[in-house]
Assembly symmetry: C2
Homo-oligomer: 136 residues x 2
C-alpha cells in the first residue's frame, strides 16, 4: 500500500488509514515505534504537515502516544478494572476538557465516564481504565 498525492482523499488521511491498518492488524504491536516524522516524510515522499496531521489523527483516536524527543509509539492501553453500576445510576461518556485531561493525566483520545449516582453525586472515571458492569 502506498500513497497517491493526486487522490481526492487527502495525503494525511491516507497515511493515517495506512498506519491504523498496520496497528489493528498487529503489524505494529503496542509499545512499538511508528517511525519518526522525518522517516515517514522520506518513506512516503510527503511533507511534515501531512505526517503530523496523520499522527495527530491517530492520537485523537487513542491509538498512539507521542513524546517530545522520543517519538510516537502504539499506545498500550492500561488494564480495565470492573466497576459495578449501582441501581439508580446513570452514565454518560464525553471527552475531558483540557484542564480535566491534564489533572487526570489522561492520554489524548481517551474519553471519561461521568457516573451520576441515585443520590445525585457525580463521579468522573478514566474511560480507558474502566469497564462498567451490571451484574446478572
Amino acid at each position: 500500500m502506498t500513497i497517491d498525492p493526486r487522490s481526492h482523499t487527502p495525503v494525511y488521511v491516507q497515511l493515517a488509514d495506512l498506519l491504523r491498518e498496520r496497528i489493528e492488524a498487529g503489524d505494529l504491536p503496542a509499545g512499538s515505534a511508528i517511525g519518526s516524522e522525518t522517516q515517514l516524510m522520506q518513506e512516503y515522499g510527503i511533507g511534515r504537515d501531512a505526517v503530523r496531521m496523520a499522527i495527530s489523527t491517530l492520537r485523537s483516536e487513542g491509538l498512539v502516544t507521542t513524546n517530545r524527543g522520543r517519538g510516537s509509539v502504539v499506545r498500550e492501553a492500561p488494564p480495565r478494572r470492573r466497576v459495578e453500576l449501582v441501581p439508580g445510576a446513570t452514565v454518560v461518556a464525553r471527552m475531558p476538557s483540557g484542564t480535566e485531561r491534564r489533572a487526570m493525566q489522561l492520554d489524548e483520545g481517551v474519553p471519561v465516564l461521568e457516573v451520576r449516582g441515585p443520590d445525585g453525586g457525580v463521579e468522573v472515571l478514566p474511560g480507558d481504565e474502566v469497564e462498567l458492569t451490571r451484574p446478572a
Copy 2:
C-alpha cells in the same frame, strides 16, 4: 483576559483556554460562532497556526464543530435518550476509528459506548446521544 506571546504556555493553548472559558460560562452559547480564523488572528495578533490548533483542540473536546466555508460554532449537543443496561452487560467507552466515525456520522470529539450483552453480542452507541441507566 488576553494572550501573552512570551508566556511559557503556548499561544494556542492560551487561546483554547480562553475560548473554552467563554463557552462554559455561557458567553458563547450553543450555535453561536466563535469568530473566523482571520478575525481571531487579528484580534489576538497571532498566526493562523495558533488559531487553527486552538480550534482543533476545542473540536477534539467536542465543544465546537467546524464547517468549511461557514466557520466554527459552539456545538449543540443532541438530546440524550436513556438506554437501559441489561443484566449481565458490560460497557467500555472509547474513541471511534476514522472509518467508524464517518460511518456513524459522529462529530469530532465524540466517543462511543461499546456495550457487550450477556449473549456476547456487541453494540456500539454514539456517546453524545445516549445516557446509560441502571434502574433502581
